[in-house]
C-alpha cells in the first residue's frame, strides 16, 4: 500500500513537529509513508469563506499531488472533512469533468490519522508513553463531519503512563471556525473562553486534539490567560515513547 501524508498547510508552516510526529508514528507501525512535496493545502480556507473559484486551483493541486497513492493520511479532522465533503462541490463548480473525476478518485482515499490507525492498520495501542495528566477536545469536524467517534480516545487510553481526564462539555465547539475566528472575533473568543475554562476545570497539564487549528485558538487563549496549560496535537502524544 502506497501511503502519503498530507501534512496540511498550517502544520507545514506553523506546526512542523506534528508532521514529524505522524511520520515517526507511522514508521514505528511499519508504514513507510511519503511526503509528496507538491502538496499545499486542502482549500478549506477558501471554500469555507465562500471563495469557490479561488479554491479550484488549490483542489487541482491537491489531486495532482496525491495521485497514485492508496491512502492519504492527514493529522486534521477538518482537512479530511473538507476533502471528503467539499472537493466535489468545488470540482462541480469548475465545470472541469477531468477534475471532478480526479476528485472522485482521490477523496475516498483520505483518512484522518485516527481513522487510518484504527480502521486501516487495526491498532489502538501504538506503543506510546506519555506520563501526564491529559484532557481531550474532540474537534467539531472530527466529531460531526467525519464521525471519528471514540477512536482518538481509544488510542489515548492505550498510552502508557497517561492520566486521561474527561473534558466537560467536550463536544461543544471551541469557536475557532477558520475565518469565523476573525470575522466574528468576539463571539469566537467568547466560545473559546468557555472551552478554556472547562479545560482548566479538569486540572490537566496538556490539552490534546486532532486539529492544530483549534489548538492554535484554544492554546492562544490559554496562553494569554497565563494558565500554564499547554496544547499538543494527538499525533505528538502518540509519537512519544519511553526513549523519546
Amino acid at each position: 500500500m502506497k501511503v502519503a501524508v498530507q501534512v496540511t498547510c498550517i502544520n507545514d508552516a506553523m506546526f512542523p513537529d506534528t508532521g514529524e510526529a505522524v511520520f515517526t508514528l507511522l514508521r514505528r507501525l511499519g508504514v513507510a509513508a511519503d511526503f509528496p512535496a507538491a502538496q499545499t493545502c486542502c482549500a478549506q480556507p477558501m471554500v469555507n469563506t465562500g471563495y469557490l473559484d479561488e479554491a479550484v486551483p488549490v483542489v487541482r493541486n491537491f489531486v495532482d499531488a496525491f495521485a497514485g497513492y492508496d491512502a492519504i493520511v492527514t493529522p486534521s479532522g477538518s482537512c479530511a472533512g473538507s476533502v471528503r465533503h467539499q472537493h466535489a462541490m468545488v470540482a462541480r463548480r469548475s465545470g472541469d469533468g477531468r477534475l471532478a473525476a480526479a476528485v472522485a478518485r482521490t477523496s475516498p482515499k483520505v483518512y484522518e490519522l485516527t481513522e487510518f490507525l484504527v480502521d486501516v492498520l487495526g491498532v489502538t495501542d501504538v506503543g506510546a508513553y506519555f506520563p501526564h495528566r491529559v484532557t481531550y477536545h474532540p474537534t467539531c469536524h472530527s466529531l460531526r463531519m467525519l464521525g471519528v467517534g471514540d477512536r482518538p480516545l481509544r488510542l489515548l487510553r492505550a498510552v502508557r503512563g497517561i492520566d486521561l481526564v474527561e473534558l466537560p462539555a467536550a463536544d461543544e465547539c471551541c469557536g475557532f471556525g477558520g475565518t469565523f475566528a476573525v470575522k466574528n472575533a468576539e463571539t469566537s473568543t467568547a466560545m473559546g473562553a468557555d472551552k478554556a475554562r472547562h479545560v482548566l476545570d479538569t486540572g490537566a497539564e496538556v490539552l490534546v486534539a486532532g486539529d492544530n487549528s483549534c489548538l492554535l485558538h484554544i492554546g492562544g487563549l490559554l496562553s494569554r490567560q497565563r494558565t500554564g496549560v499547554r496544547v499538543m496535537h494527538l499525533a505528538e502524544v502518540l509519537a512519544r515513547t519511553e526513549d523519546a
Binding site: 511519503d34 511526503f35 465562500g50 493541486n61 467539531c140 477558520g178 463571539t187 492554546g219 492562544g220
Partner: protein, 487 residues
C-alpha cells in the same frame, strides 16, 4: 407595540452588544442548556429517531418537488370545506389581505395565535397602520409585545428575559394594554402566568377576528394544524367569528397520514416533550365561523429555486438548532436581525431575501463556526453547514463585480500561494526568517516552550487581541524534509 428589525446592524456589530451583556448571556446559557438536555433525553427514548428524521425529510422534499400540484390540491380542499383562499406574493400583499378582512368586519383589534409567518411579514405593524391593534396571546409573545421588545427565539421569543424582568414589564405595561397586572405581583412563575391569563381572557372574549399561522397544512383534507403548549391558540381559533390563517406555502403535507411523523418529530425537538399539550386541527371554519387562508410566498419560491438552499424549506420551526448553537447561545437572537434567528435564520433570511442586497443579510451566512451541531439535531435533516458555505459563496459572488474588498484580495493571493508548492515554500521561507527573528525578540514563552508574538496590527489584532500567537518555526516541515534529503 413591539419594535422591528429594520435597520439592524450586521451580525458582528449586533453580537457585540449581546456579548457584553452578562445577564443576557446567563439567561441564554441557562435556558438553552436546560432545553438541550430535555431534548436529548426524549429523543434518546426513540429507537427509530433516525428513520423518523429521514421520513420527515422525505415527505417535505416530495412536497417541495411538486409544490405547485400540492398547493392547488390544498386550495381545492380548503375551498370545498368553506374556507376562502387568498394568495400573497409578498409581505405587503399578505398584510393588506388580513387588514381588509378585519376592516370588513369593523374590527379595530385582532387576537393572534403565535405565528412566525405573521411576524415575518410584520403584520402587527401593518395592522397598526390601519388603526387595528393586534394582541399577541402566547405568553412569551405577550412579554415581548408589552416590553416593546423584539423576539429572540422561534419558540420562546422572550428567552432573553428572566422572571424579574417579566414582572417589571407586566407591572409597568399591562394596564395600558388592557387589564392591569394585580397589585403586589411577585416574580413567581405561577403568579406571572395567572396575571397573563386574566389579562388575555378579556381579549379572547372581546375580539371578533383572530389571526393564526399553521404548523402544517394538509393538502388532502384541507386541514390546518396548530400545535401549542398553553391553550391560548385554541381560544383564538374557536372564539372569534372570523379566523384568518397566514400560511407559508412550504407548510404543506400531502396527506393526513403524514402528520404522524411530524407530531413525533416536532414536540421532542422543540420543547423536549413527548407530545405537545394542545394540537388544534380545523378544516374550514369551526361552526358558524368565517375562515380565510392566506397562502404566503414572500421569498419562498426564491429559496425553492436554489438547488442547495431549498432544503431550508423543510424547516418545521422547532428551534432545536437554536438551542444547540454555540453562537446563538452567546449572542442571542436579536443579533440575527430577524424573526428567524440562530442557524436556521442564518440560512433562511438570505434565502428568502436574496444576498448582495444589504450588509446585514450578507453577514448572516458567516455567523457560524460551522460546528455542525445544528445539522445533528435538525429533525428534518437540513444540512445547515452545507447551506451556509453555499450561501457564503453566493455572497462572495455577488460582490465580485465591484472593487475587491481586503478579504477578497487576501483570499486571491492565498489561493495563488497555495496552488503551487514552490510558491508556498517561498512564502514559508519568509515566515521562517521572521520566525527566527521573532524567536529572539518574543518576550513571552507559551506553555510548552514556544515564543509568542506580541499583539499584531490590524487585521491580525482581530486574532491577537485575546489570543497569543506562537512565533512561526524557523523551518517549515517541507524545508526540513528537503534539507534532510528524505526521499
Amino acid at each position: 407595540m413591539s419594535g422591528t428589525f429594520v435597520g439592524m446592524p450586521a451580525f458582528p456589530a449586533a453580537a457585540r452588544e449581546a456579548l457584553s451583556d452578562a445577564q443576557l448571556r446567563r439567561n441564554l446559557a441557562h435556558a438553552t442548556s436546560t432545553i438541550r438536555a430535555k431534548r436529548a433525553a426524549v429523543v434518546g427514548e426513540v429507537d427509530e429517531w433516525e428513520e423518523l428524521r429521514l421520513a420527515g425529510a422525505a415527505i417535505k422534499d416530495n412536497v417541495l418537488h411538486h409544490l405547485d400540484e400540492h398547493l392547488l390540491r390544498l386550495e381545492q380542499s380548503l375551498t370545498e370545506r368553506g374556507a376562502t383562499v387568498h394568495w400573497a406574493r409578498d409581505a405587503a400583499e399578505a398584510c393588506e389581505i388580513v387588514a381588509s378582512i378585519a376592516r370588513r368586519h369593523d374590527a379595530d383589534e385582532v387576537v393572534k395565535v403565535k405565528s412566525m409567518a405573521t411576524q415575518e411579514i410584520g403584520l402587527n405593524e401593518a395592522l397598526a397602520a390601519h388603526g387595528i391593534t393586534a394582541w399577541e396571546t402566547d405568553l412569551a409573545e405577550l412579554i415581548v409585545q408589552l416590553g416593546d421588545d423584539l423576539p429572540s427565539h422561534i419558540l420562546v421569543p422572550a428567552i432573553h428575559r428572566n422572571r424579574a424582568e417579566i414582572r417589571e414589564i407586566f407591572r409597568e405595561r399591562m394596564a395600558a394594554a388592557g387589564r392591569p397586572a394585580p397589585e403586589n405581583l411577585s416574580d413567581v412563575p405561577r403568579e406571572l402566568a395567572a396575571a397573563a391569563r386574566l389579562h388575555l381572557r378579556e381579549k379572547f372574549l372581546r375580539a371578533k377576528v383572530a389571526v393564526s399561522g399553521a404548523n402544517f397544512a394538509i393538502a388532502e383534507t384541507g386541514t390546518l394544524v396548530v400545535v401549542e403548549s398553553e391553550g391560548n391558540g385554541r381560544m383564538c381559533l374557536t372564539l372569534p367569528e372570523v379566523l384568518v390563517s397566514v400560511v407559508g406555502i412550504e407548510k404543506i403535507l400531502p396527506a393526513w397520514s403524514d402528520l404522524d411523523v411530524f407530531l413525533q418529530l416536532l414536540p421532542r425537538s422543540s420543547t423536549g416533550e413527548r407530545m405537545n399539550p394542545y394540537t388544534s386541527m380545523w378544516s374550514g371554519g369551526t361552526e358558524g365561523q368565517e375562515a380565510h387562508v392566506v397562502l404566503l410566498d414572500n421569498g419562498r419560491t426564491r429559496a425553492l429555486a436554489d438547488e442547495v438552499g431549498r432544503q431550508a424549506l423543510r424547516c418545521i420551526r422547532c428551534s432545536a438548532c437554536l438551542n444547540v448553537c454555540p453562537v446563538y447561545e452567546r449572542t442571542g437572537g436579536h443579533a440575527y436581525g430577524s424573526v428567524y434567528p440562530g442557524p436556521i435564520g442564518a440560512i433562511l433570511n438570505p434565502l428568502l431575501r436574496g444576498v448582495g442586497v444589504d450588509e446585514q443579510t450578507d453577514s448572516l451566512p458567516y455567523a457560524s463556526s460551522l460546528c455542525g451541531a445544528c445539522f445533528e439535531v435538525c429533525p428534518v435533516r437540513i444540512d445547515i453547514p452545507e447551506v451556509l458555505v453555499h450561501l457564503r459563496s453566493q455572497v462572495v459572488d455577488a460582490h465580485r463585480a465591484g472593487p475587491p474588498k481586503g478579504e477578497a484580495v487576501a483570499m486571491k493571493s492565498a489561493a495563488w500561494v497555495l496552488s503551487g508548492a514552490r510558491r508556498l515554500s517561498w512564502a514559508e521561507r519568509g515566515m521562517g526568517v521572521a520566525g527566527r527573528v521573532l524567536n529572539r525578540l518574543g518576550r513571552k514563552v507559551m506553555p510548552g516552550g514556544r515564543r509568542a508574538l506580541g499583539r499584531l496590527p490590524w487585521p491580525g489584532s482581530l486574532w491577537s487581541n485575546a489570543r497569543d500567537v506562537p512565533a512561526p518555526p524557523a523551518e517549515s516541515f517541507r524545508a526540513r524534509w528537503r534539507r534532510e534529503g528524505r526521499r
